[in-house]
Amino acid sequence: MTSKTFSQGVYLPHYKKFSEDKSITVISLPEEVVIPLHQHTGAPCHAVVKVGDTVKTGQKIGESAAFVSAFIHASANGTVKAIEPRPYFNGLLVESVVISVNPEQEEPRWNEKDVTELSRDEIKAAIKEAGIVGMGGAAFPTHVKLSPPKPIDAIIINGCECEPFLTCDHRMMVEMTDSLVEGAKLIARAVEAPHIIFGVEANKPDAIQAIGAKIAGDSNIEIAVLDVKYPQGSEKQLIKAAMNLEVPPGKLPFDVGVIVNNVATAIAVYEACRYQKPLYERVLTFSGDGAAKPGNVKVRIGTPISHVIDQCGGLPSQVGKVVLGGPMTGWAQSRLDVPVVKGTSGILIFTSSMVDDYGHMDCVRCGKCVEHCPMYLYPNYIGVYAETRRYPMAVEWGAMDCFECGICVYVCPSNRPIVQFVRDTKKHVAARSSK
């Protein structure tokens, strides 16, 4: 099997063995769920419930009149205990609805709908109502993504899962193939795209086989088997690998007639259209070299990560880092009461042996970052200029085109925190342009 790919990038250790064969299990409900009203790119929601209200699973509790926003739903039956700022995974406080969960839960009942009859506007309305966002991590509202100003030639379903450790997309492709393919068809119909491409890295043969069997005979759907290389799952790199199209700097995939959606998003779209089920739970990977019981777990949105960790065997004695998301782009946590949100793809437990604490040195111009940067930038110069606060020069060498995949830091023999230098530059540029 030949696999397609993009230029540059890096071959990372996979670390998927911990959890790739573990079927999805369900995490029990915690005593309280903390549901942030701003889990997405765009405008925050405001609460439409009051303290003391009883809520049911799937009930809308936050909404916004803004187009670029995503509704928020209760993830359990219970009582609203508080509406207040609570810690969020990025280290800030975010206005959240705290629900104390009823010990008695009833299974939510759904009206099944025939999805074949839905019009494109009905599909988009169902997606908007369900509060679906991109579930690969970016959390961009899906109904906005599916309203492009240009005609769309193809949609790509992103099943690359190129971050090490993470396997939840893999398991969903294997275990929920029907919903996935139906969801992909609904997305394609919503934007009237004639083609669907599933992009899957070659290290998931069972997923490739499952999807292949499901789409056999359909000439409009194909599966692109991709090289296992990071960051294959980044939109621009995926489009390049699967379709040999390059999205120009500062442009979005729809500019080349493509829309990319994550596997979990496609499944959520299917469930929203078929059952009117809002996005109040998601599958994520619990893993890491310090994870007691690694696996893939379905978790209600708002569940504190400490609860998930407890359910998966607790923390090791030598815990070094707890990371939300993948190891290359995820967020290290300082506290464990932060909740799982729509964009949380993983909870990784690293022992202290995985933690680097030796600081960084000056750039020795080895060129490895330049050799591997998937955006063809010059991380060496960006880092040197940003470190010395010459931000316009950092921009000249490409800082604004960086999507912070982390490869430059990974390969750097001087251990330079180049991604942080890029963030400093972007922050500086944003501050200057808003003046």
Partner: protein
């Protein structure tokens, strides 16, 4: 909720994975790659060669420590680069070099060309070559005085009776009596310690390429340029063997493989490496054919070191998607849309 304070979790920005690359490991690999040629030089020149190598490495280390202390530089991790610089300086000298010449070259190379320029990463010129050529430049001014000054110490390598032989390079320029190509390639005791075996240098270079510390473009473009120019302009006397004599004698291989590939002082891009390599090759042949055959390779590389920032800027590649975007804007040019199957 109180767990967090007891846990003392480590927090840092992404990414949370690191490769095993680090500067000390790379420097160790460079030192390993220089072992074969060092061994050949010790085979020919014995303990004198070993003494010169140890002397330069020890001086380099000491110079680094003293200069960092003097400059009050925030403590840097030991990276091993000064030891490699010391080794390279030793390999640039002939065995009958007086010990204080080697010491001065090393102090200038590590102290001035590297530490005073800001330490590893900030130097514009290759420290080893800078140190080596500085004693060439200072020689007419200093030689007698220093010789006299050091005489009372009663110790100089030049007083030791060792095999001394005209370098193949001098033979190439002025006369006959050239060694056979095969002995030049395998091992020949003429010239500097690092010029005693082409094979040993090539083996070291292959190891560095295999370990991904250097890219092949730089040495290959230098060697190819030397080959072509020698073939065109110097095949009168030696015929088709001329290019090989030029490559296997003198400092071409040592410079092309170990000096021109120095991370800090060579271009970042592939295109830049080739421009740099071809220019170095041209300069080497200018020195050899038209100027004095003394440290031509070293001067060539140092001259091109000065152009590296400009080469980097001039060879800046387009960002991802930029080429496609420009092609699209050009009138009458349509982008072929290739579909996957």
């Amino acid at each position: 909720m109180s767990m967090s304070s007891e846990l003392n979790l480590s927090v840092s920005t992404s990414p949370h994975l690191r490769s095993k690359e680090n500067v000390p490991n790379a420097m160790r690999d460079v030192a390993v790659s220089l072992l074969p040629v060092s061994a050949v030089s010790i085979y020919w020149f014995g303990l004198n060669a070993l003494f010169l190598i140890v002397l330069c490495m020890a001086t380099a280390l000491l110079t680094e420590v003293v200069f960092r202390k003097m400059l009050n530089r925030r403590s840097k991790r030991f990276d091993g680069s000064s030891l490699v610089t010391g080794l390279l300086i030793a390999l640039c000298f002939t065995v009958n070099t007086s010990w204080w010449t080697a010491v001065i070259a090393t102090v200038i190379g590590v102290g001035i060309a590297k530490e005073l320029m800001g330490g590893i990463g900030w130097n514009l010129f290759n420290p080893a070559l800078f140190g080596r050529v500085s004693v060439v430049i200072f020689a007419p001014l200093l030689l007698n005085e220093v010789n006299i000054a050091f005489k009372p110490l009663g110790f100089s390598l030049s007083t030791v009776d060792v095999v001394t032989q005209a370098t193949p390079l001098a033979l190439l320029k002025y006369g006959s009596g050239l060694p056979s190509l095969s002995s030049l390639f395998l091992s020949f005791p003429g010239g500097a310690l690092g010029e005693t075996s082409a094979l040993a240098l090539i083996a070291g270079g292959a190891y560095l390429i295999y370990r991904k510390h250097i890219r092949w473009q730089t040495p290959v473009s230098i060697i190819a340029t030397v080959f072509v120019i020698a073939l065109l302009l110097d095949s009168g006397r030696l015929g088709i063997a001329a290019p090989l004599y030029h490559i296997f004698s003198g400092g071409v291989l040592l410079g092309a493989i170990f000096m021109a590939t120095d991370w800090v002082t060579s271009p970042i891009t592939t295109k830049g490496k080739i421009i740099f390599g071809v220019s170095v090759g041209i300069l080497i042949m200018v020195f050899r054919l038209f100027l004095a055959p003394v440290e031509g390779t070293a001067f060539s590389i140092l001259i091109m070191n000065a152009f590296v920032p400009y080469i980097d800027r001039a060879t800046k590649r387009p960002r991802f998607g930029e080429v496609a975007a420009t092609a699209k804007m050009a009138p009458g040019v349509s982008q072929p849309v290739q579909r996957s199957v």
